[in-house]
Amino acid sequence: MNKARQNPLNTAAMHGALILYTLIALFPVFVIIINSFKTRRAIFREPLALPDAESFSLIGYQTVMKQGDFFLYFQNSLIVTVVSLAFVLLFGAMAAFALSEYRFKGNMIMGLYLALGIMIPIRIGTVAILEMMVATGLVNTLWALILVYTAQGLPLAVFILSEFMRQVSDDLKNAGRVDGLSEYTIFFRLVLPLVRPAMATVAVFNMIPIWNDLWFPLILAPAEETKTLTLGSQVFIGQFVTDWNAVLSALSMAILPVLVLYVIFSRQLIRGITSGAVK
C-alpha cells in the first residue's frame, strides 16, 4: 500500500465525507421507518422522535394488511421486476455479444439504433403502447408491464454490456472455438461470467425505476389482481384525507425486497473480474 494514502488526516476526511453522505442519503428512509411505527398524532407532533411506549403503534401495518390484497401487490411487483430484469440482462447481453463479437454489415448502425432508446423516454410512446396492449389483449396482465420494462431497460443494457464485452479477451473466445465449443457455450460459459460486474450494474440501474414505477401500472394494469405495490399503496392517499400510518407502513415494506436484491447484486458489483484467465 502506498504510504501517502494512509495519512490519518486524509483517511479521517474521507470517512467523514462518506459518513455525511450516508446520513443524508439514509435520513428519509429512516424517517419513513420510524414514523411507520407511530400513532397518527405522534407522527404530526414530533416527526423526528423515535417511537416510545406511548407513541408506538402498529396501526399502519394493520391497515395495510387488512385493506386490499397487499401480498398480491407485493408478489406482482416482485414478479414484474425480476422477470423484466432477467429479460433485460439476457437479451441485452446477447445483443451486446453480437454487436461486439461479430463483424457484419450495419453493425455500427445497429448499435446506434439500439442505444437510441437511452435518449428517448419510453413514456412518450404511452398512447401507442396502450393501443398495442389493447389490440393484443395484454391490458391488465403482468406481461404488459414486463414487456414494457424490458423494452425500457434494453438500450442502456446493450450500451454498457457491449463496451464490457469488447474487453473480454479474444484469445479466450478463440480458444473456445478451437476446442469446439458452440457460440452459445462461449457466450454463457466464458463471456457472461467475465462481465458479471457489468451485469450487476445494469441490474441495479434497471431494478429501482421498475420497482418504483407508478405510470405504467396505472395505465396498463390497474386491475385489482395485477396492481403493483406502488399502485396499491395509492389507495391510502386520498384527495382530502391521507392515511399516513398506512402509507408509511406500505413504503417501509416496499423498501425491503429492493434492499435484498440490491445486496445480492452489489456483491457481484464489488467482486472483481475473475483473474487468471488471461494475464
Binding site: L172, V178, G180, A277
Partner: protein, 331 residues
C-alpha cells in the same frame, strides 16, 4: 506428405489488404516459424490457418484436405495463445479435457491423454488447481497441455512466450523444442522475436506487410538473405547498413556487414568514433558513429574500448552484402 499447404491466400478487412498472395508449405513434422515486425500479418495468417478468420481468396489445405470452410474444431489443429486463454472457471484437468469431451472421446481416453500430457509437462502437482492459482509459466504449460491432449496434426503457437519473463522464456523455449522432438508433430509458431525464430525453426517464413519476404532454414536466411529487410531482421545485434560511398563505391549501393564480422584493426577501411560500449563478459558490443551512420561491432571476448575513442574496423570482403536502393540483394 504435407501438413499444410497455403495457395495464393489473400485476406482483407474491408479495403485493407492484410495478407497478399501467400504460398507456404509445411512438411510433416516440420517446425515452421512465422516471423516479422508487428502488424506484418503473421498472427492473422495463423488465425486463417486455424479457421478463426476466413480467407478472402485462396486455398488452405491441412493434411491435403481443403479446409477453407471447416470450423476450427474440425481442422485437426490445436492452438496455444499468447495470453494463455485458460478457462477461468475450470481447473487444470478440466481445461485440458474440455476439447476431448467436445469431440466425444471416451472417459478412458481422456484420462489417459490428460495424465500423459500432465506428466510430460510436469503439471501433475497442479492438476486440480484453477488458473488463478498458477504462475505465468505454469499457465502457459497448461495451455500447451491443452493443445497436446488433442493429438492434432498441426500445432499453432501464437507468440506463446511473449508474456513470460526472460529466464522463463528461455526455459519454455527449450521445452517447446523438446516437445517438438517427442511429439514429432508439425508446428507453426508465430513470433516477432528473431532469437526464438532462429533457435526453434526448421524453416523460417519472414513476413512484411502481408507478404512473404523469404522462406528458408535459419542459416540459409542468415547467410543468404534475399533482401535488406531479411538481412536486417535476422541476427542480433542487427546488420549494419551504410552507403557504399563510405568505402569509395557507388552511392546507389547499400553495404551490409554483420556486427560479428567487424574486427578492430590499425589499418581498417572503416574509421569511427565510439559512442557507447556494452561489456557483456563473453562479448563486447561497440556502438560507434561512422560519419552519420551508426554501426555496431560485436567483438568476441573482452576488449578495453572507451566511449569517445576513435577506432578502425576491418572486415572480410566475402562477408559483405550489397543491396540496391529498393533493398533488393545485388550479386
Amino acid at each position: 506428405m504435407t501438413a499444410l499447404t497455403l495457395t495464393n491466400v489473400n485476406k482483407s478487412f474491408g479495403t485493407v489488404e492484410v495478407l497478399r498472395d501467400i504460398n507456404i508449405e509445411v512438411e510433416d513434422g516440420e517446425f515452421v516459424v512465422f516471423v516479422g515486425p508487428s502488424g506484418c500479418g503473421k498472427s492473422t495468417l495463423l488465425r486463417v490457418i486455424a479457421g478463426l478468420e476466413d480467407v478472402t481468396s485462396g486455398e488452405v489445405r491441412i493434411g491435403g484436405e481443403l479446409m477453407n470452410l471447416t470450423p476450427p474444431s474440425k481442422r485437426g489443429i490445436a492452438m496455444v495463445f499468447q495470453s494463455y486463454a485458460l478457462y477461468p472457471h475450470l481447473n487444470v484437468r478440466k481445461n485440458m479435457s474440455l476439447a476431448l469431451k467436445q469431440e466425444g472421446q471416451s472417459k478412458q481416453v481422456i484420462e489417459e491423454r490428460v495424465t500423459k500430457a500432465s506428466r510430460m509437462l510436469n503439471l501433475e502437482p497442479y492438476i486440480d488447481r484453477y488458473p488463478s492459482e498458477l504462475s505465468g509459466g505454469q499457465r502457459q504449460r497448461v495451455a500447451i497441455g491443452r493443445a497436446i491432449v488433442r493429438e492434432p496434426k498441426l500445432f499453432l503457437f501464437d507468440e506463446p512466450l511473449s508474456n513470460l519473463d526472460a529466464a522463463l522464456r528461455m526455459n519454455t523455449r527449450i521445452e517447446i523444442a523438446n516437445l517438438h522432438q517427442q511429439l514429432d508433430a508439425s508446428m507453426i509458431y508465430v513470433t516477432h522475436d528473431q532469437t526464438e525464430a532462429m533457435t526453434l525453426a526448421d524453416k523460417i517464413v519472414v513476413l512484411r506487410d502481408g507478404r512473404v519476404e523469404q522462406v528458408g532454414s535459419p542459416m540459409e536466411l542468415y547467410n543468404n538473405p534475399a533482401n535488406q529487410f531479411v538481412a536486417g531482421f535476422l541476427g542480433a545485434p542487427s546488420m549494419n547498413f551504410f552507403p557504399a560511398s563510405v568505402i569509395g563505391d557507388s552511392a546507389d549501393t547499400t553495404l551490409g556487414i554483420r556486427p560479428e564480422d567487424l574486427y578492430l584493426t590499425d589499418e581498417g577501411p572503416l574509421t569511427a568514433n565510439v559512442t557507447h560500449v556494452e561489456h557483456l563478459g563473453g562479448d563486447t558490443n561497440v556502438i560507434a558513429m561512422m560519419q552519420d551512420h551508426q554501426i555496431t561491432a560485436r567483438l568476441f571476448g573482452q576488449h578495453q574500448v572507451n566511449a569517445g575513442q576513435a577506432v578502425q574496423f576491418g572486415y572480410a570482403q566475402d562477408r559483405t552484402y550489397r543491396f540496391d536502393q529498393l533493398g533488393a540483394r545485388l550479386g
